[in-house]
């Protein structure tokens, strides 16, 4: 089981698998997430990200293995786990004929949250002015913010987000990321799946790469980039020609040294490996 660097583990996953006939959607996955940590799960479509979230939120039974949230079994103690968690779904599954406020009021009642929580959340996601409008009149970005507000209605210890910024314009995506970061900084644990490497890099304390149902790497973005990423440098010479050199390649390093000795180098920009490179190295193709 891959352990977090510090803090008490609030999510503990051990040998979790879900098979549909011969298809191993999730195959013997183990990891743990510390309290207050943001963990990102990255992978291609069909890699098993959503199935993992479905099992952790008690909406699908594991074929084998298990998971604990706050020490409670997600299958056997599902009813006790429910109030501790919440989820931002991949689909914008809101009640479109109801207003934004009515949507939040419904879930506040279901979770037994105080009525004042609704106004507080509307304010937090910037929807106070649109609260009395029916959701079908909302833009995609507004709906996504309302989805996030709905998932925060019970102030969950563990917040799951399935592709929270998918299809959003950069400004709306930035707003959503801000709300997630704010919730995590208040001590909650965040578990998110995403297709966006920059998002994972910016938000996540640790990142897990999932390929064909198995975790192929799990660590901090920085460590992953150092371990699997390629260090390169872009060299601009006096003759205005530009060259990409791999710093870990002996031949390229000698070339760079020769240019330096000859005084031909105008500028050198070193490039750290990206999570995208790491993913390509590990999964064989880009996201």
């Amino acid at each position: 089981m891959s352990a977090p660097s510090g803090g008490r583990a609030i999510i503990e996953v051990d040998g979790l698998s879900r098979h549909y006939g011969d298809v191993r959607a999730v195959d013997d996955v183990s990891f743990s997430v510390a309290e207050g940590e943001i963990l990102g799960l990255l992978g291609h479509n069909g890699a098993g990200k959503t199935t993992t979230i479905r099992m952790l939120t008690g909406r699908a039974r594991p074929t084998s293995g298990g998971a604990l949230i706050a020490g409670l079994d997600v299958v056997r103690e599902r009813e006790r786990v429910k109030p501790l968690i919440n989820l931002v779904f991949e689909e914008q599954n809101l009640y479109e004929r109801q207003t934004g406020r009515e949507n939040l009021e419904l879930f506040a009642k279901l979770y037994g949250a105080p009525p004042a929580r609704v106004a507080e959340l509307l304010e937090r996601v910037g929807l106070t002015d649109a609260a009395a409008r029916k959701v079908r009149t909302y833009s995609s970005g507004m709906k996504q913010r309302l989805l996030v507000a709905r998932a925060l209605v019970n102030d969950p210890q563990v917040l799951f987000l399935d592709e929270p910024t998918k299809g959003l314009d950069p400004s709306s995506a930035r707003d959503v990321r801000g709300i997630i970061r704010e919730h995590a900084s208040a001590g909650a644990t965040v578990f998110l799946t995403t297709h966006y490497m920059e998002e994972a890099d910016e938000l996540c304390d640790r990142v897990a790469f999932l390929a064909a149902g198995r975790i192929v790497a799990l660590d901090t973005p920085r460590e992953l980039k150092l371990r699997y990423g390629e260090r390169t440098a872009t060299v601009l010479l006096h003759d205005r020609s530009e060259h990409e050199v791999r710093l870990d390649d002996g031949g390229d390093a000698a070339r760079l040294e020769a240019w330096m000795a000859a005084g031909e180098v105008l500028t050198v920009h070193s490039n750290e490996g990206t999570l995208e490179d790491v993913f390509v190295n590990l999964a064989g193709r880009p996201l």
Binding site: K82, N86, F89, E91, N93, Y95, Q98, E102, L106, K109
Partner: protein, 363 residues
């Protein structure tokens, strides 16, 4: 199970239903059909006919016709000043049959001279109009003092209890068809309104958000309450707008409540099976047939095997109990059996819903 959660989902569904044009139409359509039946049919079991007469001198003919036809038709006679006015009224179907009686008609008949009598009928005569016109020969012969060729004795058998005849005789066509409209409304709730709510939750995956905290049972109970509320509001509304009052209110309430509970169970089952609104639109029409057919078939003469087949369906028993309740008499016997059959369907419906839920929870 938490009552507060059930209540929150139930209230959301009610509020949503008021904003959902599909559900409003599902309620309005049977109401309008009931209203239409109420205008089309009368409480009287005998058909009525209006006889228009133009006669320049006094004649016994209208009174004699009224007497001769009273066993089969309720005849109303109206005098007109001239032929043109009467013809127009017949054409407009305000009058079923018109008679132009010449001056000195009665005297000519008794004197043995054959007077000319003109009968005006519309292009498609009503049963009453046709019947009155057909009786004219016999009545004029009688007025002329001629003995009939044979003495005809008409024996009308009373309707046998438990048959469609007895229902119509006891209730009249209007009440019988309003009862059919009530069953149509309950069936529409079962096969369309309630499944539409469930299917939309499944299709848009809002039900997954609900069950993140609520249990499947809490969601199902809330939906059942929603369906029952729909029934409880719509049936009295139908009775009010059609001015139909059951003679045996207690039996009618038992009948409607049992049927509502049963059909809501079947609606939950149907809603659980449908994944999309398109699927529901296709299958709800098919599902409506076995629910509506018995309500109509009970009023038709059926061969024994067909009657047995129909009588095992819940709405056939709803119709039987409903007829008894509206008439205030036991026209259909074995009411306990009707209750048992409806309850049996409730057990089947809810049992299957429960079975599906338990399978879903272990999936």
């Amino acid at each position: 199970m938490k009552g507060a959660r059930v209540n929150a989902i139930y209230r959301k569904d009610l509020r949503d239903a008021l904003r959902d044009s599909r559900l409003i139409v599902a309620l309005l359509m049977p109401l309008l059909i009931g209203l239409l039946y109420s205008f089309m049919f009368k409480d009287d079991t005998k058909p009525t006919a209006k006889l228009g007469v133009v006669a320049s001198t006094a004649t016994r003919l209208p009174a004699a016709l009224e007497a001769a036809t009273k066993a089969a038709v309720q005849l109303k006679v109206q005098a007109f000043a001239d032929q043109a006015a009467l013809t127009q009224q017949v054409r407009d179907k305000n009058v079923d049959v018109g008679l132009i009686v010449p001056s000195g008609f009665d005297e000519a008949l008794t004197g043995g001279a054959p007077p000319r009598l003109t009968v005006i009928l519309p292009a498609s005569p009503s049963f009453g109009g046709d019947y009155v016109a057909a009786m004219l020969d016999r009545v004029t012969q009688s007025l002329a003092g001629q003995a009939p060729a044979a003495t005809v004795t008409r024996v009308m058998l009373p309707a046998a209890a438990g048959t469609s005849d007895s229902a119509f005789v006891a209730l009249g066509a209007r009440k019988a068809f309003v009862l059919v409209a009530v069953i149509l409304m309950l069936a529409m709730i079962a096969v369309y309104a309630l499944p539409a709510v469930l299917t939309e939750e499944t299709e848009k995956r809002t039900v997954e958000a609900l069950t993140l905290i609520a249990s499947d049972a809490e969601v199902i109970v809330a939906k059942s309450l929603f369906g029952l509320t729909y029934c409880v509001i719509s049936v009295p509304l139908m009775l009010a707008i059609t001015r139909v009052a059951p003679e045996n209110v207690a039996l009618f309430v038992v009948d409607i409540v049992l049927t509502s509970v049963t059909l809501v169970g079947l609606g939950l089952l149907l809603g659980g099976l449908m994944r999309t609104q398109t699927q529901l639109n296709t299958w709800s029409t098919v599902a409506l047939i076995p629910l509506m057919a018995p309500a109509i078939a009970i009023q038709l003469p059926l061969p024994g095997w067909a009657e047995t087949l129909v009588s095992v369906l819940p709405t056939a028993q709803t119709m039987r109990l409903g007829v008894n309740a509206l008439a205030g008499r036991q026209l259909f016997g074995a009411e306990w059996l009707s209750v048992a059959i409806i309850l049996g369907w409730a057990v089947v419906g809810y049992g299957l819903v429960w079975w599906r839920l338990s399978r879903q929870e272990t999936a």
